[in-house]
């Protein structure tokens, strides 16, 4: 079963349009929710008067800051974000009130009648401007706007730099971007006395449960979180978004459910990719080895810390790169500004950091006269090396990934492949090294019934990655049942067991191992129950195709239960890791395993316009053991295509804190005509055969591989994403007129 390209389990529903996305949810007596948002980037709220709005026929209730208790604040680590704004707004688009109405029309009419008075405060939008003396303070607890400073201290930097023959210092930037899942954020909530049910398009149902239980002061078990299949997540649904607001609104509707579905424009002010400025100072010896690297990262976290207290330290680890460097110091700053909150964006933080370190690799290689590919090969980590956190690296395959992607490009393009017009061709490479969640837990529960059917209860969210199909395949193999006997239930926190989150490509590994453990227990139980029936000791039994098999005889799982007068068997499995780094030195163990990926690009640049065409792209990720080859290929391809967005086109443009392109006409995401003329991707497997997630690995190398290929083609270096035609042309002009 593992290693087979079975179609997604619910393929039929997916091609007939019958999959039950959140957006389709209808409940009896359901009300429509509408969020009233701040037009000011930073202001005291002098007045939020809902008197007239409440008179609109069809309006049932309106939620404002006045309804909130002292616990109505949330955030991962720093609880700074109100369910709606209380007294003060800090970004354009921040929820100030919410309306529950019989119809959207009524809600929209009421929205216009809410009287909001602002007392404007000075605002700051750039992270580095926000930490200057005299910049407006967003949260009194953090007067300099730095809410998180993650540090890594490894080796003596001064000594190591002194040993270098050349020192390179470059700054690379990434703008805010949007995850832009085609399905927006949708949440519905309903109260029954002190019990809350919330249906939500979230990647982290148990995080939602915990947060809501804290906000409303009820037991976690009093909160039921149900997550249907998602129309894409990409990190945008990885943390708490509109669930608290939906729940607080529903508390005012006398038990009627309220559903909030965001518009596309609202998506752009709900979560963004961290804008980042990353400075790398790297010491290199003439022999092509590194002596030292100092990394300074400024993450624009937006107005609320959101997931950043977790992501800023992750970004620290993910900023060093997959190369042997004796001394490494990193300072990673999470900074408040008056922009919408930032969160994970597929390949969280690595999309920004890989852009920086892989761009600098080529700058160094070119300056010092090495071939960029050989320079990488020479320095890439191999198993047994130690990372800057001090942890030993195992199952390391960067070299294979890079080799495979370089090889995948093949011989240089034949002229027949080249579109007409002026252009120069070049090739470039990128490698990325990413940690996953250090401390997390997955639990799985299996139920076997006497008809031989197996139900897997899992809180892994199916968001298009094929998570449920993967778990079914793992179950089929680990338990020895046909795929057709397996049903997947979840996530529903009332019936499916705990899982930390479906993100950071952790599920195949973490939940996969929990499923394997549950299957192990189930098999053990089946062997015990069937040993007397088969007259064979348990340790000589095996399972196959829904049967327990002895040498000569066999018995079906269903019959084992029946013969033992059992209706069902329930077994659970768990897998967890508890790792971490010292907060002062960044030393310790940062991840249960490393995400490894590489990419190679061949581009053509039109030197008159600066327009880049990706002729070929070849990507490789380390998968350990591939569960479903074609789904893995889809994830790898999808990452490359997704990665073309931040590389070439995606940027939310703000003017005075107001996004000016919050729509898919002015904010472009890659279309079928933007993808490489030839795109190949492969998964590298290893003998150790550990299953790894591959949801992000081939994304972060895309932007630097393209930038490196551009320099190869036309000799200009772009350091600011996205790499637009205009920036390339400008750089060409600057180069020709020094």
């Amino acid at each position: 079963m593992i290693g087979e390209s079975v179609p997604m389990l619910d393929s039929l529903a997916r091609v007939t349009g019958t999959l039950d996305y959140m957006i389709n949810l209808r409940l009896p007596n359901m009300l429509v929710g509408k969020i009233v948002r701040s037009q000011s980037p930073h202001a005291k709220l002098l007045k939020v008067d809902i008197t007239n709005a409440l008179q609109v026929p069809g309006v049932i209730a309106i939620l404002t800051g006045a309804d909130l208790g002292a616990n109505a604040f949330y955030g991962a680590g720093i609880k700074d974000q109100g369910v709606v704004a209380v007294d003060r707004v800090r970004y354009v688009g921040e929820p100030i009130a919410a309306i529950a109405a019989e119809s959207l029309d009524a809600a929209e009419e009421a929205e216009l009648l809410i009287d909001i008075e602002y007392d404007e405060l000075p605002a700051v939008f750039d992270a580095q401007a926000a930490i200057q003396a005299g910049a407006p303070t967003l949260h009194e607890k953090f007067p300099n706007n730095i809410f998180k400073h993650a540090k890594l201290r490894h080796g003596d930097l001064d000594v190591a730099f002194a040993e270098a023959d050349e020192i390179f210092e470059d700054t690379f930037t990434s703008p805010p971007a949007q995850q832009a899942s085609l399905e927006p954020h949708v949440s519905a909530a309903q109260w029954d006395g002190e019990r809350l049910t919330i249906w939500t398009a979230s990647q982290a149902p148990f995080m939602v449960r915990k947060t809501l239980s804290e906000i409303f002061g009820i037991a976690p078990e009093a909160v039921r979180v149900i997550v249907p299949p998602l129309g894409g997540g990409y990190g945008g649904k990885g943390h708490i978004r509109i669930e608290p607001l939906a729940a607080a609104m529903a508390r005012k509707t006398n038990g009627r459910p309220v559903k909030f579905a965001l518009s596309r424009a609202e998506e752009f002010v709900t979560v963004t990719k961290h804008a980042a400025s990353i400075t790398l100072k790297t010491g290199v010896k003439r022999d092509g080895t590194f002596t030292a690297r100092q990394v300074t990262l400024y993450w624009n976290g937006g107005a609320y810390a959101d997931a950043s207290p977790l992501l800023v330290p992750a970004g620290m680890v993910r900023s060093v790169g997959p190369y042997r460097i004796p001394a490494v110091h990193v300072d990673s700053y999470g900074i408040y500004t008056n922009l919408p909150p930032a969160g994970a964006y597929r390949g969280a933080m690595s999309s920004q950091t890989t852009w920086a370190y892989e761009s600098q690799m080529d700058i160094i290689a070119r300056k010092m006269g090495w071939d960029p590919l050989e320079f990488r090969m020479k320095n890439l980590f191999v198993s047994g090396d130690r990372f800057a956190t001090g942890e030993e690296l195992r199952d390391v395959h960067f070299v294979e990934c890079l080799e495979a992607s370089a090889k995948g490009l093949g011989a240089p393009s034949s002229p027949a492949l080249l579109p007409e017009g002026e252009g120069k061709r070049g090739r470039g490479y990128g490698v990325m090294m990413k940690s996953t969640v250090a401390t997390s837990k997955s639990q799985a529960r299996l139920k076997l019934t006497d008809d031989g059917m197996v139900t897997l209860f899992t809180s892994t969210v199916e968001m298009g990655q094929g998570g449920h199909t993967t778990m079914a395949q793992i179950t089929a193999e680990a338990l020895g049942v046909p795929l057709s006997a397996i049903k997947i239930i979840g996530p529903d926190t009332a019936i499916t067991p705990f899982d930390s989150t479906t993100s950071a490509s952790r599920s195949t590994s973490m939940m996969g191992n929990a499923v394997v453990a549950a299957c192990g227990s189930m098999r053990k139980k089946l062997f015990e129950l069937s040993a007397p029936l088969l007259e064979t000791p348990p340790d000589q039994l095996r399972t196959k195709n829904g049967f327990v098999v002895a040498n000569e005889t066999s018995i079906s799982f269903g019959d084992i239960l029946k013969r033992n007068n059992l209706n069902e068997l329930n077994e659970a499995g768990e897998y967890s890791t508890s790792l971490g780094l010292d907060p002062e030195t960044g030393q310790g163990v940062s991840t249960p395993h490393w995400h490894q990926g590489a990419g190679a690009a061949e581009v053509k640049v039109d030197t008159e316009t600066g327009r880049v065409t990706i002729l070929r792209y070849s990507a490789a990720s380390f998968a350990g053991r591939v569960v479903n080859p074609r789904m893995a290929q889809l994830q790898n391809d999808g990452n490359v295509i997704f990665g073309l967005g931040p590389a070439l086109m995606e940027e939310i443009v703000f003017d005075g804190g107001q996004p000016t392109n919050p729509n898919l006409a002015d904010y472009s995401i890659p279309s079928i005509r933007d993808i490489p003329v030839e795109l190949t991707s492969i998964c590298i497997e290893s003998d150790e055969g550990e299953m790894h997630g591959i949801g992000e690995m081939t994304l972060p190398p895309v932007a630097p591989a393209i930038a490196n290929a551009i320099e190869d083609a036309i000799g200009v270096r772009i350091k600011d994403l996205p790499i637009t035609a205009e920036k390339i042309l400008r750089a060409l002009r600057e180069k020709s007129q020094p």
């Binding site: 039929l12 007939t16 349009g17 085609l182 399905e183 894409g232 999808g638 898919l664 079928i672």
Partner: protein, 149 residues
């Protein structure tokens, strides 16, 4: 107001609403999705008299008297349409939010041009966006479907 959808007549409430709203809210045909609301993403693609149209950009009042086909109308006698089968066979989706739109666009394409080249497919489908990036397999699915249709 009467709309002809998937071969049957439906009486719907008068009023200025988009076809997408009426299909989803009144007729419960939720296979058609809203993605962008500005005609860019194609998640709301429906066929009006055989031609692909953005359901979010057209008013229901404008399509009175026309034949509307949504993804729900593709199956015949419980059998998947060959394009739907080709999308499964080629694994041409991930989150699948865009899939009904792609399938309907493909149906219109193959109707207009039963033997499209890869470039023609790219051109025709370029107004349907897939954020998961399943485009390569979608191309394969269309090529496979045209052999079957």
């Amino acid at each position: 107001m009467i709309l002809n959808v998937n071969g049957s007549r439906h009486e719907v409430q008068e009023g200025t609403r988009t076809l997408l709203e009426v299909l989803r809210d009144d007729l419960g045909l939720v296979g058609t999705k809203e993605g962008c609301g500005v005609g860019m993403c194609g998640a709301c693609t429906v066929l009006v008299d055989g031609r692909p149209i953005s359901g979010c950009l057209i008013l229901a009042e404008q399509v009175v008297g026309k034949e509307i086909l949504t993804v729900e109308g593709l199956e015949k006698n419980g059998q998947l349409h060959p394009i739907q089968q080709a999308f499964i066979d080629e694994r041409a989706f991930q989150c699948a939010y865009c899939t009904p739109g792609f399938i309907l666009s493909t149906a219109a394409l193959l109707n207009e041009n039963p033997n499209p080249s890869e470039d023609e497919i790219r051109e025709y489908l370029s107004g349907n966006l897939c954020r998961c990036g399943s485009y390569q397999n979608i191309l394969k699915a269309v090529l496979r479907a045209h052999q079957r249709v």
